[in-house]
Amino acid sequence: MLFNTGRFALFFSVVFLANWLLGKRWRAQNVLLVVASQWFYACWDYRFLGLLWFSMLVDYFVALRLDASDDARARKWLITLSVSVQLGILALFKYLNFFLDSGAGLLARLGFGTHSLALGIVLPVGISFYTFQTMSYTIDVYRRAIPAERNLLSFATFVSLFPQLVAGPIERARRILPQINAPRSLPPEALYAGASLILFGLYKKVFIADNLAPIVDQAFAKTATLTRAEAVLALYAFAFQIYGDFSGYTDIARGTAKLLGFDFALNFRHPYLARNPSDFWQRWHISLSSWLRDYLYIPLGGNQRGTARTLLNLFLTMLLGGLWHGASWTFVLWGAYHGFLLVAHRLLKPLLNRVRPAGIVGGGLWSALRCLLMFHLVVLGWLPFRAHSLLEVKQVLQSIAERGAELGDASISLKWLCACIALLMLLELADELRPHFLERRSFWARGLVYALVLLSISIAGAPGGQTFIYFQF
């Protein structure tokens, strides 16, 4: 059930109304949300509800034991069990085919002729998100950062809450469980904010992402014969497609959660206005990057064990972050690329601080230049993310390096790109320069923007309920 379909609108209307009618009876609301979430997930594939509950119950009981136990050795065993089960589920359903195929490929290269060993394993939707969410919970309980949740219903609500079940944001227990275990209200401002988030989320998805998708799809269907202009435009288009798609999804998720009385964490903050790689990861998929920071980078030693180890930790974290996105060498390359950018930035940081010009104009220009450079580095990084294979990556890079620059038919794509992103980038830039730009405007200015967004969706919104890119992860 996609967020951008009438079916979801109907489903959510029923849930919203029922939730609202239950008023302050939060336990009854939790029952409603768990039932609705199971229905929501079953609409994708009811067979994987068992896996969701298995993952959830393991961590529920492990956390209870962790909380009750003072035996350090037993607690270590328990957390190892929990993490192994969650990573085992991920490894089985997400990575087994990848490792089998890669192993078979390696054997074939070494001269041991072998056929593909890949098994027909279906990837359960949202598996990467809910396993990471429950893992963070048990690790936090292990660290005694939060107490274990004793109420199974509350825990099930936390793990399976439908707005974030299939593609995040990866919420933390310390943030959501207190909201689940307390009466929730829906003040008018939350209602407006929720509706506004849903509207902008739909705008990003159906107007920006879905309209740019054909440009990208057409280009990546013929990577061997792309012109330079087509290749470059396809990369720009994909940069905004994936941003519109994922941040649009997140906005709708946060908006629907808000209407149900929850407050989800911010997941995107003008990522294409980042000034450096570190800044980018504080703006892009914040819930994942903070998860990787708290549960991978810091346990690896963070920046406490010398420069070389810090750089290695950064690189390893991004490499695994890339692999989290998908079981493919292209995602590994994408992670390694961003790891390399973070390492390079860490090394160049002292130099960059020294050459930074003084004064408002000079500083502003310097910031703009860094934004522009970082944006293009990120755009280049999207190439392995979007490509189906390393060969496609090579072909697109060859197109950019070797082929002619004439625009040709790509001029239409250029017009589409500009038309689709103009309003979004204008609003993002304004909000970056003056935080809360839109909400500080008078009602008529806000109304004009809302009307423009609604009209854009109505006039040029791609129909048909296209799926979200991040659902494949």
């Binding site: 407006y192 904010a193 506004s196 989320g201 964490a265 911010l266 109304g447 004009l448 040029a460």
Partner: protein
């Protein structure tokens, strides 16, 4: 971390003034487009080349404009219809009105000319010659491609013109188009995006957006060889069309009967059959003849009329498979004029 994202926030407000203002703006835009923006939505070229399978989406119930004597003349339309004339709704005293409901066979074209006119205008000529003292007005609401379903809609519209007599020319050939059109409209307005196409502001802006970004003109998503009856066998389709035709003709007759309005039913005919009506036409004509009721409902058996004319003098009455040439039109007009006179005592 906790604040809403930049493009989607709102502070504590009791009334969502921004949202209300946005709604007001959109309502004003829609009303403005409906009131002031009247482009030639349906060009003659669009109409003749695409209609009814590929109308420019969303313009049902909009205005249609045609060049008439070097001027664009626009008229309100019903169900994507095209009326090249404007008729006064109020009927002057002593005026007699004859309305024709039909398809391409009775259509007069965008530039009707008496000398080359089709049979309705020839009927009018004959009646005017017979009773020059009477004020007669012919309101021809025929539209090429219209099947019986849309003819019922036209019939309802015709009642607004306070007719004294209605000539209904239903043909069996257009029923397939009704099925295609229904399938097209259903597909066009399916989903939320389809529902938005009921807004004229959305359609006008969509057209502007598509032109600016070189988006090809949308075509119906229903292939022309598919229709609402896709999947049915030929026999089932024929039965469905026959039942639809009969139901629609009966609906028109009931509407007329309720207003004591005389009706003349004109029979179906075609050139490529030895009896000049073919199997489906024969069935339709057989049905129409069963509805005859004195002067209130009369039936003109066109195939019989043409057969006798062809037998008497070897002449052509069709210009193609189903449309009459000038000879055919005159023959039908000559046969219809006395029937009109017998139905309207004022003309006797």
């Amino acid at each position: 971390m906790d604040k809403p994202s930049s493009t989607s926030s709102s502070r504590g407000r009791r009334w969502p003034l921004g949202a209300l203002f946005a709604c007001a703006l959109l309502v004003c835009l829609e009303l403005g487009v409906r009131t002031f923006f009247k482009p030639p939505f349906i060009s003659l070229e669009t109409y003749t080349s695409n209609y009814p399978l590929a109308p420019q989406y969303g313009f049902e119930g909009a205005r249609a404009c045609f060049p008439v004597r070097e001027q664009m003349r626009c008229a309100a339309t019903q169900d994507m219809n095209v009326i090249p004339h404007e008729f006064p709704r109020e009927k002057p005293a002593h005026e007699l009105r004859i309305v024709v409901i039909g398809a391409s066979i009775s259509w007069e074209g965008p530039r009707p000319s008496r000398s080359e006119g089709n049979y309705p205008s020839r009927v009018l000529e004959a009646l005017e010659r017979a009773r020059p003292d009477r004020t007669l007005r012919l309101i021809n609401l025929s539209v090429p491609g219209f099947g019986s379903t849309r003819q019922v809609l036209r019939f309802r519209e015709a009642l607004d013109y306070q007719p004294d007599l209605v000539i209904v020319h239903t043909h069996d050939t257009n029923e397939v188009r009704e099925d295609q059109r229904r399938a097209y409209v259903r597909s066009l307005h399916s989903g939320i995006a389809g529902k938005l196409l009921y807004s004229q502001a959305v359609v006008v802006l969509k057209k502007w957006w598509n032109t600016a970004l070189d988006v090809p003109t949308p075509r119906p998503s229903v292939p022309t060889d598919e229709d609402e009856t896709a999947g049915l066998d030929k026999g089932a389709k024929l039965e469905r069309w026959e039942k639809g035709l009969e139901h629609n003709v009966d609906t028109m007759l009931e509407l007329a009967k309720a207003r004591s309005l005389p009706v003349i039913l004109v029979g179906a005919s075609r050139a490529d059959s030895s009896d000049l009506c073919g199997g489906r036409g024969r069935a339709l004509n057989g049905f129409l003849s069963t509805r005859v009721n004195g002067n209130n409902v009369q039936f003109l058996d066109v195939p019989a009329l043409f057969r006798s004319a062809i037998e008497r003098k070897r002449r052509k009455v069709f210009k193609d498979g189903i449309h009459y040439n000038a000879e055919g039109a005159q023959l039908v007009a000559n046969a219809l004029a006395p029937m009109v006179q017998s139905a309207l005592p004022q003309l006797q």
